[in-house]
Every structure is written in C-alpha cells, then in structure tokens.
C-alpha cells in the first residue's frame, strides 16, 4: 500500500474515488488479519484442551515432551545433527554433479554411445526402484565386504555414498526432463550460429534446463534433508542415533522429539523458499514470457 502511494505523482494527484477505494481496501485487509489471528488462537485453545483432557496425556507428556530430558539430550543430539548437516552438504553437491552427468550421458546420440546410454538408463531405473533403506544396507555392508581397503570405513561415508546413489537417479531424471523441455529451436538457433554440440549444451540448453527444474530440484533437496537421518542405520552417530542412545539410557523418548524439531527447523526455510520460487516461476509463465 505505502509503496503504491509513493509512486510517481504522489498521493496529492490521486482522485477522491481512488483514495476512497484504498481506504476501503486497507480496512478490509486489517480485518482479515484480525480474523485470522482470532481463529488461530481459538483453534489452538480447543486443541490444547482436547489433548490435555485425554486420560493418557500426562504420561505422554512426560515421555515425549519432558523439558528436563530435552535439555539434557540437546547437546548430544545437536552435535549429531552437525554430522547430518555435513552429510547433507556433501551429498547434495555430489548428487547435483552425478545427476547432471548421468542426464547428459543419456542425451548422447549415435550408435557408439549405446552402451553408455544403456548403462545410464539401467542405473536410473534400478536406483529409482530400490527403497533407500535397502541401498543403505547393501552399500553399508556390501562395500566393506569387498575389502578394497583394510581401513575401517565410517558409517557416514557409506551412508553418504548410498544417498548419492539413490538421489542421483532421481535428480538425473529431473535434469533430463528439463533438457528435453528446452524448445528444439533453441538448439537449432545455437547450432546455426556455429556453436558446437558441447557449447550448445553448456551455454544454451543446460542453463535453461536448470531454470526450468529448480523447483523440482528443491523438492528433492527437502526430501534429502530428511533422509540424511537414515545414515544412523549404518552406525553413524548423527542426530537420530544420538537421540537413540540418550533414549536407551533414560527410557524417555523426548530426545527423538528434539531431533525431529531440529529436522523441521532445517526444512522450513527450504520449503518456504521452494514455494516462493515456484510461485514466482508460475507467475512469470502466466505473464506470457517467451521462455
């Protein structure tokens, strides 16, 4: 509103009618905010009273939402969570690289590349089909079994490898869809000016494909944020495993809730960002951009 008023001309130039319209809109807006706040409070109170009056509530509260246990478990869970964050950072970079590489391999044309295309396609089919937990077990217990090295391979390394294997398969499909969605005449225009096949991909096709699939990639990133918690099954001492250890010592489940809260706090900004970006892309497309 205030931005509108400051636009060229200034409020002095506005007609009576327009000023009236703006006052009315402002009033409506204030009213909606008030209504939303009231209904939220009312809803929360009803929820609270309902929950608190169930017969088991005191016990559930003590077992899952004990402030004392939360405080005690927090340092260990938070430290474990830092491991999750590291795994997330490394895995997401690797997934982007491997996923894009596989997508590009699948676009290669010509009979020479048949085996490469075939392998890349087989890879995506297999790893999109197998449950992540199975990949974790297979990598976690299979790779050490190969005895490539005598050193002990930490669970977080094996876990990261398994996450990268699975997520690269998803992400390569996303990239491939993006590459195919770039209008063929864009490629033609690039080739017509003498750009080689590789440069056409690098300078024209991939930048456009990446823009098209950014929302989908962000969704996969949110999923990966949660799935980094699964590396705990390979013995990596991450947030989930730390919570498990704390729980085993105290017979109280609050540490799991603490870990859960940390994961949610991590996810909220990404989810918001994804929503915002997706909405922006949609708006641009509806404005009839030539993209």
């Amino acid at each position: 509103m205030s931005r509108l008023l400051r636009e060229p001309g200034g409020p002095a130039d506005l007609s009576e009618v327009e000023l009236g319209r703006r006052a009315y809109r402002r009033g409506r807006q204030q009213r909606s905010v008030l209504v939303a706040a009231l209904s939220t409070v009312a809803f929360a109170v009803v929820m609270w009273i309902t929950l608190a009056n169930t017969p088991g509530w005191p016990r559930v509260q003590e077992t899952f939402f004990s402030w004392e246990h939360a405080v005690r478990a927090f340092p260990a869970v938070a430290e474990g969570f830092l491991l999750n964050l590291r795994v997330l950072a490394i895995a997401s970079v690797l997934v982007l690289i491997v996923g894009l590489a596989i997508a590009l391999l699948r676009t290669l044309r010509g009979p020479v590349f048949f085996p490469i295309r075939f392998l890349a396609a087989a890879y995506t089919d297999v790893f999109r089909g197998v449950p992540l937990i199975l990949v974790l077990y297979l990598v976690g217990f299979g790779i050490p079994g190969l005895r490539i090295t005598d050193d002990f391979i930490p669970g977080e390394v094996l876990g990261t490898a398994a996450l990268v294997l699975t997520y690269s398969a998803y992400v390569s499909e996303v990239f491939r869809a993006g590459i195919e969605a770039v209008h063929p005449s864009q490629r033609l225009a690039a080739r017509a000016m003498g750009l080689s096949h590789a440069k056409t991909l690098r300078l024209v096709v991939i930048p456009q494909a990446v823009r098209k699939v950014t929302p989908a990639l962000m969704n996969d990133f949110v999923a990966l944020q949660k799935d980094v918690g699964l590396i705990s099954v390979l013995g990596a001492v991450d947030a989930v495993r730390s919570a498990q250890i704390a729980t085993a010592a105290s017979f109280n489940f609050t540490p799991y809730v603490v870990a859960g809260v940390l994961f949610v706090l991590l996810a909220i900004p990404t989810v918001r960002l994804t929503d915002w970006y997706t909405a922006r892309v949609r708006r641009r497309e509806q404005m009839g951009a030539v993209v």
Partner: protein
Amino acid sequence: MSAPLLRLTGLRKSFGEHEVLRGIDLELHAHEVVALIGASGSGKSTLLRTVNLLETIDDGVIELRGDDIADPRTDADRIRSRIGTVFQQFNLFPHLSVIDNVTLAARHVHRVPRARAKSRGLELLDRVGLAHKADDFPDRLSGGQQQRVAIARALATEPELLLLDEITSALDPELVGEVLDLVRTLAEGGTTILMATHEMAFARDVAHRVVFLDGGVIVEQGPPAEVFAAPREERTCAFLARFLG
C-alpha cells in the same frame, strides 16, 4: 560476372518417403537479395536449413565461394559461423540478456575478447535501433524488437550470407514494418540475403530476384517485376493469384 557466392546444384532432400527437394539448382552472387516464395510446405525452410548444414542432404552439391560445404569432412561449425541465420520465432536465448545474445557467437565461436565483442555488439544494436535495450532480457521486448535483436545477432559474426526464414510471419501486423525496414536497410547496404517470405509486396520491393518453389523444384525465377507482373508458368500464376487476391 564473378563466381557465385553460393551455388546449389541438383540438391535433393527427403524426409522418409516424402521428397521435399527434388533437384534444386540455384546461384546467389555477392550483394544479391533473393526471395524464396512458395506455398506452405513447399520446402523453403528445408532449403535454407540445408544451406547452413542443419539438414544433411541426400544428393547434390552446395558450394560456398567454390568450396563444397556439404562434404562430410568439412567443419560444419566453421561454415555455419560464416552464415547468419534468423528463424521465424524462438530465436533469442531467454536466459541471456540482449547484449549477451548478440555477442555469444563472437565470444564463443570466434573467441573475440569480451570487451571488444561488447562494443561491437552495442554498435550492432545501435544499428537496429535497440542499443538502449542491451541489458534487458528478451521477454521484456516486443516481437518486432526480438526479431531485430535476432538480426543483430546474426550479423555479429560478419557473415558472408544472411538466411532469413519468414522472420515476420509470427509477428503482429503492426510490428512487421519495423523488421522489414531493417532488412531493407541491410539489403541496400549490400548484405547478401537469401530469404523465405510470404510478404509479396516486400519481396517485390527489395529482392533483386524472386524464386518460386513448388513441388520440390524451382518452377520459375527472375526479377520481381517480371515474375509478379507476368509469370510465365501456370503454377506461378495460380500461386500468385491466391496470394495477391
């Protein structure tokens, strides 16, 4: 007369069973402006695409300044960078600003340093009247402005030959004029142009020669005054009657 800039001999091209070009012979001299006319589907675009090697031909010879460029051993990217092309639509790269669109080939094909490519690009944009849009993105431009940028981009590599494929047919009528005016200026400036067009009035005005394509062959060609005023062939008459009403 000097040797032709472009010479097509016995050019053939099929898509599956459908033979689109059945033996095209055509010569184009430097500074000449030739308009390709013909019904939709007569193969005008296909002919232009074969000339800059975006389609492989089934038979025939394509010579650019005497070199056989259809030979599979030639470096197609090098040849293409000597020929500027503007298509009907979707020409510009939406993820690049106007100036980056114009300088892309110079920088990445001819390896011109960034600063020099940019000053040359701004000159070209100035020539098409769009220097003030250099930093905008294509989706902020009108269709006519987009096509003018596309022409500037095609000129950026200083091509020996400019191929224009119905560059106004996707435009609203009121935007056609600004693009055609630009082509007229280029033609008067001596640029060699081979263009497919449905703008008969424009072809009559600007082209030195009109080539009528039908059934995969050149049915008739000559100066526009002759072809439009007194076509010799039955089929040309029928086509022009439909077009000029």
